[in-house]
């Protein structure tokens, strides 16, 4: 019985507190391999996206997430960044048809982790929650679309394109309390990244299924301490699942999702390896079809001298006349949880203007 826990600790490092970048398991254990004997499915270039099914969980895959980032403004026009994410990490695989384990047995087949953060006036508020799956404490369903862990939740409103996101952290009426309550209006069809949704994460074929909703209108309220701020702006929603994200030797990734003032959107990421970096992205022109960007089409270079992570980046896609400088506002935007990583809003200058979000993982001290 002890062995089971140990296995979980070693392989998934779920409670490991510190992940060691550069180890074979990769950041947060995401480099764990899907072997033929562990029962996990691994998506490939032929795997198709099916809606609305794929908004729900994929228990046959090792890991997945629902990821919302929002670039908002308060009623006085001050920028406010916001993140809500829920992760599912399978400990044992389960195919979609087999029945869920009984809650009364307190099963440990899957662990869920939720993150929420607010970035405002150079400050960063972050919260983290954990739960085991199949109890009802945490989960997700495709129809109606909802994702929850404890009282943090994303639910569908009156129509399928109306979402509500609610998060609160700490005791109300204390200085440490913070919360948000958002109404989201989803526009446009899901954007499939890579090859019809299969997004390669290395030259040798590791990858994930990945789609985004890139045009989401947001209104709502953010509460910080005893202050309530009305906010509005736009959000970006990612769905991604796989059984092996990183290949051995990949240390972490840098990910960017940008809303350009021209109405165009851009997603770009790179996976850092010792020698070479694997880059990929999607250019989503306003009103046009998404265009997958091949590794050679993307230029992505960190600025110099930034601590603890590079907070200025140059991102260029010469084929589409894009040459951008991305910069995080001053402040430390480390999500200081079990696996620390950087999650901050960015402002875009250069060939285009705009806003967006940046996630940097696997740095020794993010």
């Amino acid at each position: 019985m002890r062995l089971r826990w140990l296995t979980m600790m070693l392989v998934y490092g779920l409670l490991a507190g510190c992940s060691e970048p550069g180890t074979d398991a990769g950041f947060a254990g995401l480099g764990g391999t899907a072997g033929p004997d562990d029962g996990f499915e691994q998506p490939g270039p032929g795997t198709e996206l099916v809606f609305p099914r794929d908004f729900g969980p994929h228990p046959a895959h090792r890991i997945e997430w629902w990821y919302l980032t929002a670039n908002l403004e308060t009623d006085t026009g001050e920028p406010l960044g916001l993140q809500w994410t829920q992760f599912r990490q399978a400990i044992e695989s389960r195919d979609d048809e087999s029945p869920s384990p009984e809650p009364s047995g307190w099963p440990l087949q899957a662990a869920w982790m939720a993150h929420a953060a607010v970035s405002y006036r150079e400050q960063h508020w972050f919260g983290e929650r954990l739960a085991r799956g199949y109890l009802g404490q945490a989960g997700a369903t495709a129809e109606p679309f909802q994702v929850w862990l404890d009282h943090w939740q994303l639910t569908t409103g009156e129509s399928p394109d109306q979402w509500l996101v609610q998060v609160s952290h700490g005791q109300p009426d204390t200085e440490d309390y913070w919360a948000f309550d958002l109404e989201l209006t989803v526009r446009g069809a899901p954007v499939a990244h890579g090859v019809d949704g299969f997004s390669a994460k290395s030259a040798s074929g590791e990858g994930s299924m990945y789609f985004s909703l890139v045009d989401i209108e947001v209104t709502g309220q953010v509460r910080l301490g005893r202050e309530t701020l009305p906010v509005r702006g736009k959000a970006w929603f990612d769905r991604e699942w796989s059984s092996q994200f990183l290949k051995a030797g990949q240390q972490g990734w840098d990910w960017f999702a940008l809303h350009l003032d021209s109405g165009d959107k851009l997603m770009a990421f790179q996976l850092r390896e010792q020698q070479d970096h694997f880059r990929s992205g999607t250019w989503i022109p306003a009103g046009g079809e998404p265009i997958a960007l091949a590794p050679g089409q993307l230029q992505l270079e960190p600025g110099t001298g930034a601590e603890p992570v590079p907070t200025r980046w140059r991102l260029a896609v010469p084929d589409h006349d894009i040459d951008l400088t991305l910069s995080a506002p001053p402040g430390n935007y480390t999500n200081d949880g079990l696996y620390p990583y950087w999650e901050s809003p960015v402002t875009v200058t250069g060939s285009h203007e705009g806003v967006g979000y940046m996630e940097l993982t696997g740095y020794s001290e993010p």
Partner: protein, 752 residues
């Protein structure tokens, strides 16, 4: 060739000396790092636990139904921080296990602490992952939901109740930590002695080099400077692997230890991993430098130290002053200082004493062979004085800790049995009328055949201390019956329980008696709800849980308007089943959800948690002993190899190798056995100081003192084993051709 290479070439020629110094340094660092790491860990755990323990509450259903996973999910989805705690008695087993959910525990610690969350899972007996606990075939199973501090209002179908896994053992835990501290100080002392001994040996082996350098015109100051540099290099080389080894050692023990501390302090809090390496690195470097520089930095002290003749007198004086201090000390720090004086004096006297013994032996022996043997014994004791003292201290420490641990175990067990003398304990719900229950119990459990019970009421009163009045906890019991009269008393009048039952006296706990200097027969002035009482003290009972003073009285003398803050019934059912009793109480109080605790289960869990704690303490002391033994082994080997020529001389004189080995074996055994024999009184004394002096000073209560002669024999056998190992090592040396001590190198080898 620079001075440095000239100095360092010594180690090139005598690599074993450098290796021995490095090895000892490494082992000592590892040991101290390990112990420091564990102590810090324990302290962290304790700190966190204490923050949690004070506000521990559980959730119950208002309808009295058992809690299920659905209740847990419902509360969590309301945003409440609750954690499941599943107690399972596996079928066919007598020991309970507890299933916990570490994922759900995250919200218990506040997000600010997340970075220090070490990820030590709560596994190891008696804790399991809740899924594993739930999968056991259970004879009994009960789910508790524990509520974090300061959580908001519960849904109306739920309410809170206090959650107590075990009696508050915080003080026993503190006492354990204090002992752990004393232990690590002693280990540091032992480590210092060992390092100093190796350092002195290496210096004495190098006197020729120093003399040569002095003749070449190199100033003593410069040589010392280079020696210092050399030591720092050595420290740099050995500290890192030593600390690494220590951490590895600690982490092996840690899994168990973390659980132990958590269990001990009734907390599910996980200790911070923290990097505890800086302190050991600093301490060991300072220790090494202190050990090396004590001669140079304090020439005045050296000059002030009395000459050879006066030294034994000075050391004796030190011991006597120290003993007087131990006897009279009224503050913890004074006691520690006094203890340090005693140890220093004994450490000083011990080689001297053995040397005197050797002299007496020489004088008493007519045969030149025996005269030689006694003289060699004396040289060995002088040359190995420091590691011998270290061994003596280690043995004494092991002995003290062993006695302490057994005492703790016994005491704790007895105290638990006394405090939890009833099988079941039912808390009186707020607003319920305890008189109804008392009447029912009087009627249905009239004698021990049906079952035993008493009614406990707690509250606060005041007593007169000199001219002032002070608050004191009141512990009232009705009736004073067989559940109480089994209590062991430290002091008592004749027939104390009958007198207590009649209301003609009180009993006080040891803490109160210690603080007031109360003894049996004296009168205590009490005020209970404005009613003044003057009653004699009938007995003093041991109480290891809390520092607070407490007065035990018969419930009948409580005034009617006494404010009872806590009420419960302790029940040991016999012919009347417990279900009948609890059903009746539920009906009487119209209260479906009773807080009922099974005292046997509590006792079982608490005992198991202590077992692990003590196992760890023993492991640490044994490690210290091992280090001292290794040091003595190394030093004995190094030193005897310088005297190898003389053992070969015996061979030249016609002794057989077997005869020589016998002499050597006898020497080694005599030396280690003397150290062990001298360690026995020291160890017993140390035990006595720990339980009879340190505990009362720190906590107001003492532990009973006990000695365990069988363990003494074990220690003596261990000392013989160490001696045997030294002799065996030397036998290997004897097989090799001996190098005749050269004119310049004969300084130590020819010592008499």
């Amino acid at each position: 060739m620079t001075v440095f290479t000239a100095l360092f070439s010594h180690y090139r020629r005598h690599p074993w000396q450098g290796t021995a110094l490095a090895l000892l340094m490494l082992l000592a660092t590892a040991l101290w790092t390990g112990i420091h790491h564990l102590t810090s860990q324990a302290r962290d755990s304790l700190g966190q636990s204490e923050r949690l323990v004070e506000v521990r509450e559980q959730v119950q259903r208002v309808d009295g139904a058992a809690l299920t996973v659905e209740d847990f999910v419902l509360l969590r989805r309301q945003g409440l921080c609750v954690m499941p705690w599943l107690e399972v008695l596996p079928e066919g087993q007598s020991r309970r296990v507890i299933g916990v959910d570490p994922l759900a525990a995250l919200c218990f610690q506040g997000q600010a602490d997340v970075a220090s969350f070490d990820g030590q899972p709560l596994v190891g007996q008696p804790f399991l992952d809740i899924a594993d606990a739930a999968a056991l075939t259970a004879a009994e199973q009960q789910l508790f939901l524990i509520l974090a501090a300061g959580e908001g209002p519960l849904p109306s179908a739920y309410r809170t109740a206090p959650f107590a896994l075990s009696p508050d053992t915080g003080q026993l835990g503190d006492s354990f930590l204090l002992n752990l501290d004393a232990l690590s100080v002693l280990v540091l002392l032992i480590t210092g002695l060992l390092l100093r001994s190796v350092y002195l040996l290496s210096l004495s082996q190098r006197r020729d080099s120093f003399a040569l350098l002095a003749r070449l015109g190199v100033s003593g100051r410069r040589v010392r400077g280079h020696l210092l540099l050399e030591l720092l290099c050595l420290a740099a080389l050995t500290l890192i692997p030593g600390i690494w080894l220590g951490q590895a050692l600690a982490s092996v023990l840690e899994g168990g230890f973390t659980n132990v501390m958590e269990g001990l302090f009734d907390s599910r809090q996980l200790a911070t991993g923290g990097n505890h390496w800086r302190v050991p690195a600093l301490v060991m470097t300072v220790l090494l430098l202190a050990v090396a520089m004590v001669d140079w930095l304090m020439p005045m002290v050296a000059r002030a130290t009395p000459g050879n003749r006066l030294r034994p007198a000075a050391a004796t004086l030190l011991v006597l002053v120290g003993l007087a201090g131990v006897w009279l000390a009224n503050a913890l720090w004074l006691l520690f200082v006094a203890l340090a004086l005693v140890l220093a004096g004994i450490g000083w006297l011990m080689p001297r004493g053995l040397s005197l013994l050797s002299g007496a032996g020489v004088r008493a022996s007519a045969q030149p062979g025996w005269r030689w043997w006694w003289a060699e014994f004396g040289v060995l004791c002088r040359r190995l004085a420091l590691p011998l003292v270290a061994l003596q201290f280690s043995l004494a420490m092991v002995l003290a800790v062993q006695a302490l641990v057994i005492t703790f175990e016994d005491t704790f067990d007895r105290w638990l049995s006394q405090r939890l003398s009833a099988d079941v304990y039912v808390q009186v719900p707020e607003g319920a009328d305890s008189a109804l229950a008392a009447n029912w119990l009087t009627e249905h459990l009239p004698s021990a055949d049906e079952g035993l019970w008493h009614h406990v009421q707690r509250g606060s009163g005041r007593f007169r201390h000199g001219q002032a009045w002070q608050d004191v906890d009141i512990f009232a019991v009705t009736p004073v019956g067989p559940l109480m009269t089994g209590w062991g008393l430290l002091e008592q009048t004749s027939q104390p329980w009958q007198t207590l039952a009649s209301g003609a006296g009180v009993m006080v706990n040891e803490q109160l008696a210690y603080r007031l200097g109360l003894s049996v027969g004296e009168e205590l002035e009490l005020v209970l709800a404005e009613q003044a009482l003057k009653l004699p003290v009938l007995g003093i009972y041991p109480d290891y849980g809390r520092p607070a003073g407490e007065v035990l009285i018969a419930g009948q003398i409580l005034p009617a308007d006494f404010e009872v803050t806590f009420e419960s019934f302790s029940i040991s059912p016999a012919s009347v089943p417990i279900e009948t009793i609890t059903d009746a109480l539920r009906a009487l109080w119209a209260e479906p959800a009773l807080t009922i605790r099974d005292n046997r289960a509590i006792q079982d869990l608490a005992n198991r948690v202590f077992e692990q704690t003590f196992m760890l303490t023993r492991a640490m002391t044994v490690l210290t002993l091992a280090l001292a033994a290794v040091a003595l082994l190394l030093m004995g080997w190094v030193f005897l190899s310088t005297r190898l020529w003389y053992f070969r001389l015996l061979e030249v004189w016609g002794m057989t190798k077997a005869e020589i080995f016998r002499k050597l074996l006898l020497l080694a055994l005599a030396v280690t056995l003397s150290a062990a024999a001298l360690a026995l009184p020291l160890g017993v004394g140390l035990t006595w100081v720990l339980v009879q002096h340190i505990n009362p000073l720190a906590f107001g209560w003492s532990l009973p003192m006990a000695v365990y002669p069988v363990f003494w024999l074990e220690l003596l056998a261990l000392a013989l084993l160490i001696g045997g190992c030294i002799a065996l090592l030397m036998r290997r040396q004897l097989g090799r051709p001996a190098v005749r001590p050269s004119v310049t190198g004969s300084v130590t080898g020819e010592e008499r």
